[in-house]
Amino acid sequence: MALLELRDVQAAYGSIQILHGVSLQVNPGEVVAVIGPNGAGKSTTFKVIMGFITHLGGEIVFDGRSLVGQRPHRVLGLGLGYVPQGRVVFTQMTVRENLEMGAYLERDRAKVQASMDFVYSLFPRLGERPRQQAGTMSGGEQQMLAMGRALMMRPRMMMLDEPSLGLSPRFVDEVFDKIVELARGGLTVMLVEQNAARALEIADRAYVLELGRNRFEGAGRDLLANAEVRRMYLGGEARA
């Protein structure tokens, strides 16, 4: 059974409908990529799942429960983590405080500490400087902190919106390595990327959205090899 399933989801920002019928499935342990042109509704899909924007229709089921009408903190509490676009960290807070914020729903201090140890082992750089103010870290480090914060609730599934955005090549490598490492450890992952070729390389399956609807779907490797997908979404050129 799918861990997350969307059936014909429609959603809007205020009065503007962005999603006109998106359906997708994410099975336990999978890495699923969502790609498509600007304005296709990729980030919007994540936001409606998390309960940030207006749901107009369709089913959203996570782990057998409907997420429709749920508030973001409830969705988080059910085990679905979310890393928004653009390295959103609390810049005035320290690394440790940012991670504590990620666990704000967890009252058990021992569990919070265990999660923090897990995040520090995954991202040693964060563990080396728990007292550094987040705003003074480099872009790559902030992205790792944002991921670490989402992991503090020990989610079963994590949604990452453009994790490589604005990162230098070595950090892009590191971020993708960490996603693969987390997936191998059993975390289910769904990610949006404009660096689509890179995302398809690590994805088990992928969905292509366009103008708020499904356009293609398939195995990551197959989409990577699909001439039409390459021409329309990947810039056409062969990857070195």
Binding site: N38, G39, Q85, G166, F171, Y233
Partner: protein, 245 residues
């Protein structure tokens, strides 16, 4: 140097800027060749965006010179730099959120009433970046990628001679990016000078003729793409070891 003596569009000399105790740009010098596409790369936090801010009057340098056609423009206000024929885009987009897409395009014209030519140009550029269908939409309602595209289109409204692009590829669909790059080459053929800050190595290595590399607020390397890719300091500071092929 054994290269053709290019004309210099922008001569940056010993540029300096500190924020509190942090020397973001620490004596940086480089010369942007006229009529070419150049790239400025470096790790996150190396001073690239601050350099752009110093070149465009968004921040005032503590020291150094920015010579544009022989005139020192360091310390001018953004609008003064703009009137010299220099425009830029931002990494964190700055569209007018409560203006429509079309109004955003016209906002940079100096005319009180934008004339037919300005409107036609706006339409043409919106078509280039695939935003025609959103022309009546508010800027604040666009996705991040679409805001980047709107900024790109808006930067070209005034027919600038020097165009500074801060991460034009970030968040932009790769097929559309290819169209933007084709357009950038057309601008170059018209004699424009383009300087691009970018982490997308496809853009930098395949489209820039000259690359400047910053780290720790200074230029650590400069050269054509093939040379930069082999530069040990650049590999260490920027690409990471795995990138070596």
């Amino acid at each position: 140097m054994g290269e053709s003596p290019d004309q210099i569009a922008l001569d940056v000399r010993d540029l300096r800027k500190a924020f509190g105790g942090v020397r973001a740009v620490d004596g940086c010098s480089f010369a942007v060749p006229q009529g070419r596409i150049s790239g400025l790369i470096g790790p996150n936090g190396s001073g690239k965006t601050t350099t752009f801010n110093l070149l465009t009057g968004v921040a005032a340098p503590d020291g150094g010179q920015v010579l544009y056609r022989g005139e020192d423009i360091a310390g001018l206000k953004p609008f003064q730099v703009f009137h010299k024929g220099i425009t830029r885009t931002f990494q964190i987009t700055r569209v007018f959120r409560e203006m429509t897409v079309f109004e955003n395009m016209l906002s940079v014209t100096t005319l009180d009433v934008p004339d037919r030519a300005a409107r036609a140009r706006a339409e043409e550029l919106l078509a280039l970046v695939n935003l025609t269908h959103l022309r009546a939409e508010y800027g604040g309602r666009l996705s991040y990628g679409q805001q980047k595209l709107l900024e790109f289109a808006r930067a070209l409204m005034t027919d600038p001679d020097l165009i500074l692009l801060d991460e034009p590829a970030a968040g932009v669909n790769r097929t559309l990016l290819q169209h933007l790059l084709d357009h950038i080459h057309r601008l170059q053929e018209q004699g424009k000078t383009i300087l691009i800050v970018e982490h997308d190595m496809h853009v930098i290595m395949n489209h820039c003729e000259r690359i400047f590399v910053m780290d720790g607020g200074v230029k650590i390397a400069e050269g054509p793409p093939a040379e930069i890719q082999r530069d040990e300091r650049v590999i260490e500071a920027y690409f990471g070891r795995r990138r070596q092929r």
